[in-house]
């Protein structure tokens, strides 16, 4: 790790004030934000990030609250730890998909320290991105080495010109729940749908995975109260059963109506540079009976348009199989 100055602001405004400096000077990488640090410190140890100033948010009070209001909406402070989210009884009872997603992340040690905001803002795990010597597109280079290289873990949907997959487990679950994020910067606060927070490589800056401005912080996630009767699950397929990122993950919420599905939300993780909302599959599920042919049809619809690279075609059947298993699990009990 390269030496740095640690700045410990005690208010959000102080933190944003420091961040504003990087906007003015166009020095994004020179000042970085430290929350739990479970990704950032790895990046610093690998010299992918070499900030001169690290703005530590942990001294700022009130950013770690998890609250469910009277209407049933959930608010999660960006500094809430993943274990706090995992263990929150209200979340467990009302948002099982979120509980399952939180629990699937990393290891107990990571979840003790890692934060919700950090999980949403973490950087890609792509082998090439993580290799210091690979000056790839995501690091200001001119090539996505995974495209023609070893891309077993890379994107099959939404890729190009970079083929990373977004590593967050919370993101697909939260998108399935129609979550919003509150961003705060020098110009004040803005709220937007989490789905719009993430950017495809072909959309936003290739150097980032989201719309956060230089002087902005993600401060809060808001999950609206789900319509009554929601059943949900987060099914994550890890190559190694413990402590691994998703090869494919399925975030599924659905509202049964008698023997039928009134409507469904289906979001995939591990397959695209953003949490991948499967509108086609949602349509394929709406107003259908819960049976195997429908589960298969949902998988087919979800993977429509998948464009595997040289080594990741297996993700297509895997994702279909996992969608089947997720629907099957919600059909039981």
């Amino acid at each position: 790790m390269k030496a740095f100055t640690l700045a410990n602001p005690s208010t959000l405004d102080q933190a944003i004030g420091i961040l504003a400096a990087r906007r003015e000077r166009g020095a994004h990488g020179r000042v970085q934000v430290l929350a739990g640090g479970q990704d950032l410190l790895t990046e610093m140890k690998e010299h992918l990030a070499e900030p001169e100033v690290l703005v530590n948010l942990k001294g700022i009070g009130g950013l770690d609250r998890i609250e469910i209001d009277a209407a049933g909406a959930l608010s999660i402070g960006a500094l809430a730890t993943l274990s706090a989210l995992e263990e929150n009884e209200g979340v467990r009872a009302r948002f099982p998909i979120l509980h399952e997603a939180a629990r699937s992340i990393g290891s107990p040690q990571i979840r003790s320290v890692g934060t919700v905001g950090g999980n949403l803002c973490q950087r890609p795990r792509c082998w090439y991105y993580r290799s210091e010597h690979a000056k790839c597109l995501k690091k200001g280079g001119t090539e996505c080495f995974s495209y023609g290289g070893l891309n077993k873990y890379n994107a099959i949907l939404g890729g190009g010109p970079s083929y990373i997959v977004h590593p967050s487990d919370l993101a697909p679950a939260l998108v399935a729940l129609d979550a919003q994020v509150v961003l705060r910067g020098s110009a004040g606060e803005r709220t937007l749908a989490l789905e719009r927070f993430f950017t495809l490589p072909s959309e936003g800056s290739i150097l980032r995975e989201n719309v956060l401005a230089d002087d902005e912080l993600l401060v809060r996630v808001i999950v609206p109260a789900p319509a009554p009767g929601m059943r949900s699950t987060y099914l994550k397929f890890k190559e190694r059963g413990s402590f691994d990122f998703a090869l494919v993950a399925v975030a599924l919420a659905l509202w049964p109506d008698g023997g039928k599905i009134a409507r469904a939300r289906l979001v995939l993780g591990g397959v695209a540079p953003v949490p991948w909302r499967c509108a086609g599959a949602e349509t394929a599920l709406a107003a259908k009976t819960m049976d195997e042919s429908v589960w298969k049809a949902a998988g087919e619809a979800a993977l429509q348009g998948a464009e595997p690279l040289g080594h990741n075609a297996y993700k297509v059947p895997l994702a279909k199989g996992l969608i089947f298993r997720a629907l099957q699990s919600l059909s039981r009990a």
Partner: protein, 722 residues
């Protein structure tokens, strides 16, 4: 002086008598039981001091810089590193043409680990890439750059008669031809390779080293330090795993010696995890094109094999000559090495055998199903002798083969899920030999110490050294202190090839036996009982004819002179043997929709001669199964051949099995083996991954011939990809 003189004489007498043998198993009070490790509390409480934990006054921390590409012309500018405050020494380790990915280029010593890292980062490295070959495809391409002067392929070793074997193949009732491949695997010793060199000028040095061979270090360290081997002490109190990769001083140790010599200060140099992946060895990869034939009645009639070893800049390993373990009527094997610009493969637990086992066990399995025979029966038919049959039957019972529905073909799936069982067997030498000198000392205050410079890799050496002496002297194990891991103590062989126990245990026994005999002779006078009638048991020494004539251990020791009593033991043939067998079974569940393989249970039976510590033996067997499971399901070195970058040189991307992968495991010791002590640890790691792959086929019909057995390959084998 008089005492010493008489002792020597008596020792001579003892040797003349020497009727050394392990007692009948039923008579053993300590050995052949479950023993808690004598160093367990130190390790479990974090008090055990490993090389990496050594802290000395004035010590500096060193790091190495390694080459990020497989082959280059390298120029180093060390000056920027030297200018950093806190950096104390910078040395070049390689300049000019480098030959392999991960080759150490330079080393820096500094006042803190952080500054040492600043130092290696500050070195200006000019790399001019040269054409390389890092995998088989590159090394065997028509225009491949030459990895070694003589090219990229070694000479072939062949065994058997090709014409006969091919003829037998033609006339076989069924034949299978397939290519089996295994990746390059890493040892992943949790304690990385490293040393602390305590040299502050003068003519003495101490080298703390994480090594499998205490005595492999002093000579090379002395050479680097400009000392004599006798002036260098090596300390290996505890070491955090070696698995075959830790012998001698190594590049890292030599660099630390040079830094220490330059500074006159103690130097702590441990590889980082990334360094370890690049420069601490690996298990060679393997590609085996096997063509086997069987008769309809279940005989292996033919095998033709073309085998390549991928051992980087050296040969890699593959065992022996001829088919692996199984009897084949006519066989022909051709074995050669393919060289690449990667780190030299080192011995890794049963070098060559896990590779050979996977190829052969897969082929045997495929042939059994091809002729429609129960693969367990097919194995028993083609293995020599009764041992494998009884071991296979034992693990089959344990895993539930008799009740299992899929005996001669993969079973029907339920809800896309299949459950399967697979088998495999193993063999290893594990014999011992000369080279250990053990001292047993009994003090007047009752203390007993067994000393030998050997090392404990985690197998439990320290514990059985104490246990053998305790058994001989009729004491509880707690009464004996085992001192090991110090080159000032009696010499010992390095720990390789499961030879330690079979070499060391006889020497410990010999020393303990001599000490007991000497003690008995001394007590004979004091107790007025003939020495040969004195029995040592339950902490007492008693006349076997009149047990009332007895002394407690403490009382007996009080009869000794102030310098106590001591005896040196050496290897004695007859106390250990050679050649072990094992069988393993695995039960898996496969989700054919996703390719998920969950190992549900593994069972092993292993022979090992006389079990010294049953609990440690079971742990070794289970450890072997865990490693094989991890090898079979997850592990693989990944290098981008175009750019030359190591893509998974860390413990996230190089995946080692964690808790959820580990199933119920049953380790059975084959107690029908009545031979004396034999090393077996290597054998336990050989068959597990083959058994798992066979179980996957048995579950769902997916024959995966390329490890690791990841979901992409399962789905592909099921015809579900693309």
């Amino acid at each position: 002086m008089a005492a010493r003189k008489s002792r020597r004489k008596e020792a001579g007498d003892v040797e003349a008598v020497s009727e050394l043998a392990w007692p009948p198993r039923g008579d053993l009070a300590v050995l052949n039981h479950d023993l808690r490790r004598v160093d367990g509390p130190a390790k479990i409480s974090g008090r055990a001091r490993y090389t990496h934990d050594v802290r000395l006054p004035g010590m500096v921390y060193a790091r190495v810089l390694t080459c990020p590409i497989p082959r280059a012309e390298v120029t180093l500018d060390l000056e920027p590193a030297r200018k950093i405050p806190g950096v104390e020494a910078v040395i070049a380790l390689a300049e000019g043409g480098t030959k392999w990915l991960g080759q150490p280029l330079a080393a820096v010593a500094a006042s803190t680990p952080e500054i040492a890292e600043d130092g290696i980062r500050a070195i200006r490295v000019k790399l001019e890439p040269k054409p390389w070959a890092v995998d088989r495809a590159q090394a065997t391409a028509e225009d491949a750059p030459k990895v070694l002067k003589d090219g990229n392929l070694s000479k072939e070793n062949t065994s058997g008669d090709e014409t006969e074997a091919r003829a037998a193949l033609t006339s076989a009732d069924q034949s299978v031809e397939a290519t089996y491949t295994l990746p390059v695997q890493h040892h992943v010793c949790l304690e990385t390779h490293g040393v602390v060199v305590d040299y502050r000028g003068g003519d003495e040095a101490t080298v703390y080293c994480s090594t499998q061979g205490t005595f492999t270090v002093p000579e090379s360290a002395a050479r680097e330090l400009g000392l004599k081997a006798s002036q260098v002490t090596t300390i290996v109190e505890h070491m955090g795993g070696g698995f075959g990769s830790k012998f001698d001083l190594g590049t890292e140790g030599a660099a630390a010696c040079r830094l220490a010599k330059a500074l006159g200060k103690p130097v702590h140099l441990m590889f980082s995890r990334a360094d370890e992946f690049g420069a601490a060895g690996n298990r060679s990869g393997s590609r085996q094109v096997l063509h086997g034939g069987a008769s309809q009645d279940g005989r292996l009639v033919a095998l033709v094999g073309d085998i390549e070893k991928l051992g980087g800049l050296q040969g890699g390993s593959f065992p022996g000559r001829g088919p692996y373990i199984y009897s084949v009527e006519k066989s022909f094997l051709r074995v050669r090495s393919v060289y690449t610009n990667t780190d030299v493969a080192r011995a890794m637990r049963a070098p060559g055998h896990p590779q050979a086992s996977f190829g052969m066990e897969s082929l045997v399995d495929e042939l059994a199903y091809a002729i429609g025979m129960d693969p367990l029966e097919f194995r028993k038919k083609n293995l020599k002798g009764p041992v494998y049959a009884r071991q296979l039957d034992a693990v089959a019972r344990e895993i539930g083969w008799a009740q299992h529905p899929n005996k001669v073909a993969p079973g029907a799936l339920k809800d896309g899920m299949g459950v399967g069982i697979g088998f495999a067997v193993s063999t290893w030498g594990g014999g011992g030999g000369e080279g250990c000198e053990v001292d047993v000392r009994i003090d007047r205050d009752g203390g007993v110490t067994a000393s030998v410079g050997t090392q404990d890799l985690g197998t439990g050496t320290r514990t059985y050294v104490a246990a053998i002496v305790a058994e001989e002297l009729g004491l509880p194990i707690e009464s004996v202190t085992a001192r090991i891991g110090d080159s000032r103590l009696g010499r010992a062989t390095p720990s390789g090839g499961s030879t330690t126990t079979a070499s060391l245990a006889p020497a410990v026994k010999d020393a303990a036996y001599k000490a007991r005999t000497l003690f008995a002779e001394r007590l004979s006078r004091a107790m007025d009982v003939p020495a040969e009638r004195l029995r040592f048991s339950s902490g007492r020494i008693a006349d076997e004819r009149d047990p009332k004539r007895a002394l407690s251990w403490k009382q007996a020791c009080g009869e000794l002179g102030g310098d106590g009593l001591s005896a040196r033991g050496t290897f004695q043939p007859g106390l250990s043997s050679n050649g072990v067998h094992g069988a393993q079974a695995a039960k898996v569940r496969v989700d054919t929709l996703t390719g998920r393989v969950q190992v549900l249970k593994m069972a092993a039976m292993q022979d090992c001669g006389l079990p010294l510590n049953r609990m440690a033996i079971r742990s070794q067997i289970q450890g072997g199964m865990v490693q094989a499971l991890s090898y079979g399901l997850l592990e693989e070195r990944v290098i981008d051949s175009v750019s030359g970058w190591a893509l998974n040189a860390n413990l996230e991307d190089y995946k080692v099995a964690h808790a959820s992968e580990i199933p119920e495991m049953v380790a059975l010791i084959d107690d029908e083996d009545t031979r004396p002590v034999i090393g077996f640890s290597e054998a336990a790691v050989i068959p597990g991954h083959g058994a798992i792959a066979n179980a996957v086929y048995n579950a769902c019909g997916a024959r995966v011939r390329d490890l690791p057995l990841t979901p992409d390959k399962v789905l592909a084998a099921l015809g579900r990809v693309g």
